[in-house]
Each structure stands twice: as C-alpha cells, then as structure tokens.
Subunit: 408 residues, 2 copies
C-alpha cells in the first residue's frame, strides 16, 4: 500500500515527539507500505516567525511572508529525515520546489494546481521514506507560496490524490472526530466514520480538526482520509463518501462563538433590497452566514444576518454609510451570541431530528433567536453565555435517543 | 555602478541591526547604484540549528544538514526585504534555487559552478534591490548544498564576478584588514589596500576576516573587493591585484595557535621516503603545512612538519601504524606551539625584511623551532606561550622601521 501520513506542528514540537513520530513512520514502512510524509512547522515556529516579521514591518508583503514562513516546514522535514535515519531507516526530505508543487500566484493563500510526482516516485522506488514540506508550493514566477491556515492538511490530501495513495492519515493531537467538543461535553464520543459532507459542515461550524479545503479536495478525488492521534494508537475516524448505516442520529454537535448578528430594521418592502445589502457585504469580502427576513407590520421588513466578529465593525460602518440608499430606519447588532449546530446526513429524511433538537433546547431553557437549516444541518443562534450548557444538553438528548433506538 | 554587498550573521543578528543595514543598502541604491545583497543567517541561527540536529542524530547526513541549515539564510533575506520595504524601498528576496546557483554535488562543502543571472537581472531592471541567500547552492540532483564555513563571502564574490559588478563590499564586525590582530597588538592599524596574494596568505595564516576561497575567486576574476564594518562608516580595506607603493614594509603579522608539530626521527636516507610520508597524510585528508627535512649524522634523516591540532591524533595513529615501512625510529610531537607569520608583497626583493623579523624575535627572546618562507611570507614556529608577546614586538619593529623609512 501507499500511505500518506500528515503530522501537525504539535506532533513534531520537540525532539521526543519527532523521535516518536519517526518510529511510527518507520513501523508503517516495515509493515510493507510505501510512505510519503507531510509535515507542518514545529510547534510555535510559524507564530514566532510572524512575530519577528511584524516587528520589522507590520505591513510586510505576502510574498516575503511566504518566503519566511516556508522555512519552518523545511526545518521539520530535514529533522524528521535525520530522526528516521538515526533509527536505521532511509528517508529523504523534499521542499515544495524540489517536488514541484505548483500553485496559483496568490501569496499566503494559494491553491495547489498540479504536483510533479517524478521525484517522489523515484525516491519511493529506492525504498526511501519521502518527507515533504506541507503548507507550501511554488507559483509560476518561481516564488514560494503558502496555502493558508491548515494548508498542510490540503498538501497531504493533494499528494494522496495525485499519487493514488490507498490512505491519507491526518495525525493530530486529538483521537479523531468527536460528536461534540470533548473539552465541553464529557460524554462526547469519537465517530468511527463520517461522510465528506458531514465533515465539511462540522469544519465550517467551528470544529477545528480538519481544514475545509482539505475535505473538499478529499471529496473531489475520493481520497480515503483517516483522522487520528499521533500520541496514542487509537483507531481514529474515517472520512469517506458513504458511511455505515448504524450510528447516532446525528454526527455531531458544534458550537461557534465567532458570530455576531446585525439587524436592519424597517427597510422599505421593495424587490431588490436584500440583494443590495448582500452585494454591499460581498464587495467588502464579508462572509454572511445565517440570513432571516421577516415581514413587518407596515410596508417595511427587517433583515437579520450573522457575520464573523472580526467583520462586525466594517459591516456596521458600510451599512451606516448606505443607510439612506437602503431605506433602513435602524441598524442594530448583537455580538454576545453564539451559533449551535447539529450535523447529520439523515436529517432531511428524519423529521424527528429537528424536533429532538428543539426539545433539548427547551429542556435547557435556551432562547433561540434565529434558525437556519440545510439538508444535513440545523443551526440556531443563542445567547453566548448559554451555548455550552445547550451543547451538553443537546448531545445528551441525542445520545440517549440513539441508544434507545438501537435497543429496538 | 552595480555593487554587491555582503553582510555577515552579526550584522543582521536582531531587528535594530537589520534596520541599520537596510538603511545602508537603500542609501547605496539612492546614490544611483544597482544593488545586489548577499546575507548570512542571523547571529547564532546556524549554530542553534546544528545543535538541534545533533540532538536528534549526531551522525546526520550532510544532505539533510544542508537542507536544514539553508533555512537560516532564507529567513535573513525575507526579513531584510521586509525591512527595506518598510523604509520605502523596493526589494525582493531570492534563495539559491530561485537564482539558480549551481554547485558541485558535495554536501556541506560544495563549490559554485555557475550562476544563472536571468532572474537577478530581471529584478534589477525593475529597480529592485535583490537580496540573495549566501552560503548555499543547488546541485544537479536539485538538492540544496552549502558552501562550508565562510561560504557567504564566496557567494558574494561569485555573484560580483558573474554580474561584472563594479565592487564587492564585504561587511563584517571589524573595520577592515589590520596589520595584526588589534585585540592583541594595540597599535595595529587598518590597511587601506592589500593584494589578493597577501590577503590569501593572511587568511591561511589565521586572520579570520575573509574566507580563503572567496579571495581565490576574487583573484581569479579580478573582483574589486572591499572589507569594511557594518557598524561604522569607516572606509575599510581594498583587496585588489596591485597596490599602491607607499605602505608598511609588510602588510601584516598573524599568529595561528591551531598548529602542532610532528617529527619523524631517524628515517633511512633513501629517495622517496618524504613522498611516502606525505602521501599517507594525503590519503587521510590531513593538510600538512611547514615541512623541514634535516640530514642526520649517520645515514638517516629527520622530517618535521605541522598539522592542525584537530588532525594530530589521526596523523600520529597512521604514522605509528606505518613506522616500520617508513623506517622511522621514533615519532615525536609537540602541540604546545604556534605559528607566527609576516606577509608582504615586497618581501622577496627586500632582504632587510627577513633580517628585521628575526631581529624582533631575538629582541623578544623568542626561540624559533622551524622556519618556512615563500615569495610573500615568512612563518616561524614558536612556543605557544610566547606567540602573543612575539606578535606585539614584531609589529612594533616593522611599524618603527616603516616610519623611519618614510622620513627619508
């Protein structure tokens, strides 16, 4: 088998962890596999480099930032090759230029276009373990680019896709994908499997284990992904197209506190008003999430929507500036809210799921201010202070319901 | 004019120094020059990376060491480009792969073969300051190589040669080439000029300001080098083919403590014996410096020579193993010695120089154990404890003689 293994920054943060990971990689090879490894920069290296750059030039160009940051992964791969060598294995490190990972030109947030597999295949044929820098590529100007936060996951999946790897193992500091954040919900448990779509919803809802783009890529090329811990031998969670039938009614519950709500009160009830509002937001590159429109008592309507907390000030400024043109009477906002979501593939065909969700929220005494639904998720806005309590209650309810369902 | 400026690790060790150097580079450009900059890794970065590697694998492969160490210079060049940008300049950083600095395949000690000037010239045409990683190149396998200690000087001179630069300025933490080490000899003074050959002798005699290979390269391509301080505005020392006539009788006095002497006593006086001894040393890659052969009283002879202290044990081992074949009666050694040398282009045509040298040593009461001369230098071996005293006395003598000569 050909296996791609990706280890994050905390998995290679110091000598002990590097040796631990090196052993694991070597074992995988000794079991008769070809192994390609993708690494992030060690521990806080990237943050330290960013700090160094900001001291010198707070407006440093993205091109030079990428030149600087890409050194972190190069150090990781060289050290890992040395570690594997010291255990008697044969390894070779390669950076993005050496492999030929071609990306778009956008610095700091490039996308992988193609990967040249020649050098990798050559080294694999020599029975070497190939250790590749994650997070980076090269654009058509021969400049180094980086892929944005979580980009090493994307590097790993892209390599697995183009090499037709049998599996792409993403090693992190948690044991897999959980039904809820185990730091908040004590009886949250690890899923054996999750579908690409469910994983995508969870990732975009604040579950930070996998970067969305890597899951999108895995779905597109049908890459068999496994998320597991580099510290334990636990099995992890498989991310794939189709999942086994027997499982909890939902795949997970997620809370996201990076949400604020804006309400535009008293807009003239004319066609095109909503379009005007959201094209203004799009022009400023502000992502809008849940949208709700209500018809008012007179000839006006109210439009509410959510944006990330970091975009709130800009959004309010733009809306105030255009208040008259938009015929808005009043712009109000609330940044003390959070989004609570449940995700599950069977949701649309199982009306009981929504009922159970709202029953749990009622049990918890939580007030709901907005609701949004899709094929595989239901999100509600609640008071920021109540979201963790709500998360625990909802998770308990679904766990109990799943258990009683299985007994039948 | 096209100027290549090289700054060493201490010149870019922290934010303040980077900004200071950035200002200096920008000034050079604003005076109407095109500027190519070569940088070393910041401060102790290289040593820290070596330590990190040694902890993981004390026998780390040289290929992986080069992969690791080359990140130091890449960080420097990115940070410098940001610094210049922050001052309103336009700069771009390039690593050895991006430039196309082709080297031999030898990891950790590669030599530059060719440099592709296309990208550099393209960026210079855009009025950009081009910041290039020193110390590194790429070999025919697309692997990163490094050029050995002091390799950034060599990178700078090679770039100056191939770009036909008008000047190659080497910035260090001293103000230029001195007639002797100013930390030992208080009235040592800075030379305005020195010839390539004299500089080569001084470099190989323990003056650590410039790496020998960079001077060899400068001589070969007649590159106009200047050694000066990055901290002050002092003029520095010009290294060139021909020098002005009026100057001290000698260019410098140097002491080197990394010397040990081996004597082979009672070798049969037959042709080819010396050859056998030195081919043994060559096989073990041991550099031999001063060689002295003396005819003994019977039909034997003694051969003495010096090696670096780090090579002593290996040399002794090999010699003992071959004692019988070499017909050596006894192998003795002394590692408590030092080499004192004077260097000057006019030496061969001015017999007074040697006399003055030995007179100074006599004045200082220093015993001489071996003497070696060339066209432009005289070296003597003296007791390690006496070398600094001898250095001061010799320097005084020549300074006084030069002064009285000028009065005439």
């Amino acid at each position: 088998m050909l296996i791609v293994q990706k280890f994050g920054g905390s998995s290679v943060a110091n000598k002990e962890r590097i040796m631990n990971v090196a052993k694991r990689i070597l074992e995988t090879q000794q079991q008769g596999n070809q192994v390609v490894v993708v690494l992030s920069a060690q521990g806080d290296t990237t943050d330290e480099l960013i700090e160094k750059a900001m001291e010198i030039n707070p407006k440093a160009s993205r091109r030079e930032m990428d030149m600087l940051l890409s050194t972190g992964e190069q150090q990781s791969v060289a050290l890992m090759a040395m570690a594997i060598d010291s255990l008697g294995g044969r390894a070779i490190s390669l950076n993005a230029m050496q492999v030929g990972i071609d990306t778009t030109t956008t610095y700091s947030n490039a996308r992988i276009k193609t990967i040249n597999t020649g050098r990798i295949e050559h080294e694999l044929e020599q029975n070497k373990i190939v250790i590749i820098t994650g997070f980076q590529g090269v654009n058509k100007f021969d400049d180094i680019t980086t892929l944005g936060r979580g980009g090493s996951d994307t590097s790993a999946v892209a390599l697995a896709a183009i090499l037709h790897a049998d599996c792409c193992e993403i090693y992190t500091d948690v044991e897999g994908i959980f039904t809820a954040d185990p730091r908040i919900v004590k009886d949250a448990y690890k899923l054996d499997e999750i579908s690409y779509d469910e994983m995508l919803e969870l990732a975009s809802l604040g579950a930070k284990v996998l970067h969305s783009r890597s899951v999108e890529l895995a779905k597109k090329y049908n890459v068999n992904m496994v998320v597991r811990s580099s510290m334990t031998r636990a099995e992890g969670t498989s991310v794939k197209e189709e999942c086994k039938v027997e499982k909890m009614l939902i795949s997970g519950v997620a809370a996201d506190k990076d949400v604020s709500r804006i309400s535009l009160i008293g807009i003239k009830d004319e066609p095109g008003k909503a379009f005007e509002v959201f094209s203004l937001m799009a022009k400023e590159k502000i992502s809008v999430d849940i949208i709700l429109q209500s018809v008012g008592r007179d000839d006006t309507k109210d439009i509410s929507f959510t944006v990330a907390k970091s975009d709130l000030d800009l959004a309010l400024k733009v809306l105030e500036e255009n208040k008259e043109r938009l015929t808005v009477k009043e712009v109000v906002h609330d940044d003390k809210i959070a989004k609570l979501s449940i995700v599950g593939a069977g949701m649309a065909t199982n009306p009981g799921v929504a009922a159970l969700f709202f029953e749990a929220l009622y049990d918890a005494g939580v007030n709901i201010s907005m609701i949004s639904t899709s094929e595989i998720k239901i999100s509600v806005l609640v008071d920021e202070k109540e979201v963790e309590n709500a998360l625990v209650t909802v998770h308990e309810k679904f766990k109990a319901a799943t258990a009683s369902m299985r007994k039948m």
